[in-house]
């Protein structure tokens, strides 16, 4: 009995874990190395001895705080506009839906700098909408913190829309149908059935969206410019520090890395529930 048991146990792992083909293992390992090595480089070159003084420099915390604020506001904006957009794409049949879906993903493939130029041409002082905003309300968006939020939201929203649309498509429509047969309108169904059903998807999308917004550089520097405390987010601070002070740039990068990894890890355990 006992021997048979051991034998079975010994045989089992071999069956449960078939050999990983080298043709997959090798590129997978290389891929991992390629992604991790640059981070190792940052850690290796970090000026650990002067780290405390560098962290205490006033500009550092200002940029970090601005980054966290703008990324969070941009994510809120994306959730507010992106979830309904994702619902529209997933649940409503309308002509040109494929085109709309393609348009939504354009910022994903557009170089962010181009996004920044495009934003200037629309929301800039002489832009299509911007000139009207300026003339009517005296509001100009470039070079303001609101401009940073706008630039980040533009670049990050597709991440949210795609994640939420995916969640909606994966959700069982029978719950919504059941709600409808019980007399719930589309709005009630959306708020009471659909939204709770796809909440993990929305959370995952929001986290991705937030991470993308936090790292945004090209659209921000093009549309919102660079001014400490107002539009200089961490990535901009890193880029400018790189011009004169490499160790400072490394320190700023480390902070950004630490904060984003910490928050992503924290949120993952809580909401996203990775297997």
């Amino acid at each position: 009995m006992r021997t048979r048991d051991t034998a079975a146990r010994a045989a089992r792992p071999a069956r449960r874990r078939p050999r990983v083909p080298l043709a997959l293992l090798l590129p997978a390992g290389l891929g991992l190395l390629f992604l991790v090595l640059p981070l190792v480089g940052l850690l290796a070159r970090a000026p650990w001895t002067t780290l405390p003084q560098r962290l205490a420099q006033p500009g550092v915390l200002t940029a970090l705080w601005l980054s966290l604020q703008t990324a969070t506001l941009a994510t809120l904006l994306c959730v507010l506009l992106g979830v309904p957009l994702a619902w529209l794409l997933a649940r409503v049949e309308f002509p040109g839906r494929r085109l709309v879906r393609a348009l939504v993903t354009v910022p994903l493939v557009l170089p962010p700098v181009v996004g920044g130029v495009a934003l200037l041409l629309v929301f800039g002082r002489r832009g299509l909408l911007g000139s009207w905003l300026d003339a009517t309300f005296g509001v100009t968006l470039p070079f303001t913190t609101a401009g940073v939020v706008l630039a980040e939201a533009f670049v990050a929203m597709p991440f949210l829309v795609i994640a939420v649309e995916g969640a909606l498509r994966g959700a069982d429509p029978r719950y919504e149908e059941a709600a409808a047969t019980l007399g719930a309108g589309r709005w009630t169904t959306f708020t009471h059935v659909t939204l709770p059903l796809v909440a993990p998807g929305v959370a995952a999308g929001a986290v991705l969206c937030w991470a993308r917004a936090l790292g945004e550089f090209g659209a921000t520097i093009t549309f919102a410019g660079n001014y400490p405390g107002r539009t200089q987010t961490m990535p901009l601070a890193v880029y400018l520090a790189l011009e004169t002070d490499l160790p400072a740039a490394i320190v700023l990068s480390l902070i950004l890395l630490t904060v984003s990894v910490a928050i992503l890890a924290g949120l993952r355990d809580r909401w996203v529930g990775a297997p």
Binding site: G124, R125, P142, A224, G225, N226, T244, L246
Partner: protein, 260 residues
């Protein structure tokens, strides 16, 4: 279907990698044995003049090839000290040049190729009637400056201090072309840029000269770098920039000759 996709993607990646590697291999022995290639890292404010000088140099020395990397001087200095393959470096300020020579990257001591000074660039027609630095502090006036890390920003700081003008700019751009672009787009009312940049964009902007710019004149140093693949051609290019013909191109663009 999926397999075919993956195969196609893999082939694409492989081709791309090989292609890029090929490029690298092509560039690496830059100008060995009669290659005659010169890679010049030059301040953004030299974009128009150096492009022209490069073409002239290639025409005068058949078989040579001059390629450029234009950006803010400080960014270029960082790239060079991180091992970027540059043969010649032309900066917009001696301070920035010093970070390169100080790191032992230069093959000789730098020489000054020209001088430049700041003007106030305003949208064409000067709609806000800006006449000098104090006008930039008017309520609602939006001004773009270069970040102080780059030479045009350091010069702007000196000029503003000399004029006793305290100014909160709308943005601190990473190079002079960035500041100028914000004027061209009409997003700011004025920017402090080099006279040469304003002149190169004369169809879009007007240049307002101001007295205090005399206090912040930038010398532009140029040097052949130690890692130059073909030092002889690199030196020849520097000589061409400093020749009478080269000086004529620079002066026509608004640069001043170096101080004797």
């Amino acid at each position: 279907m999926t397999v075919r996709w993956i195969r196609a993607a893999l082939a694409g990646v492989a081709a791309l990698t090989l292609g890029l590697a090929g490029c690298g291999g092509d560039d690496a022995p830059a100008g060995t044995a009669g290659g005659g290639r010169v890679t010049v890292f030059a301040a953004a404010s030299l974009t128009e003049t150096f492009t022209r000088l490069g073409r002239d140099f290639e025409a005068a020395h058949p078989g040579t090839r001059v390629t450029f990397n234009f950006a803010g001087s400080s960014a270029l200095a960082t790239q060079i000290s991180q091992g970027a393959p540059a043969d010649v470096f032309a900066a917009a300020s001696p301070a920035t040049m010093k970070t390169v020579t100080g790191a032992g990257e230069a093959a000789a001591s730098p020489v000054t190729l020209a001088r430049n000074q700041l003007v106030i660039a305003v949208p064409r027609g000067n709609p806000r009637q800006i006449a000098g630095l104090p006008d930039l502090t008017r309520p609602g006036a939006k001004v773009a400056l270069c970040a102080e890390q780059v030479p045009c920003g350091a010069a702007a700081r000196t000029a503003l201090d000399a004029a006793g003008v305290r100014l909160t700019p709308a943005t601190l751009e990473q190079d002079v072309k960035g500041a100028l672009a914000k004027v061209k787009l009409g997003e700011v009312d004025a920017a402090l840029v080099y006279r040469t940049d304003a002149r190169a964009a004369a169809s879009d902007v007007d240049a307002i000269e101001f007295a205090e710019s005399d206090r912040a004149i930038n010398d532009y140093p140029i040097v052949v770098l130690k890692r130059a693949g073909d030092p002889a051609t690199a030196r020849a290019f520097v000589d061409h920039v400093r020749s009478d013909a080269g000086r004529a191109v620079l002066t026509a663009a608004g640069f001043q000759p170096p101080q004797a």
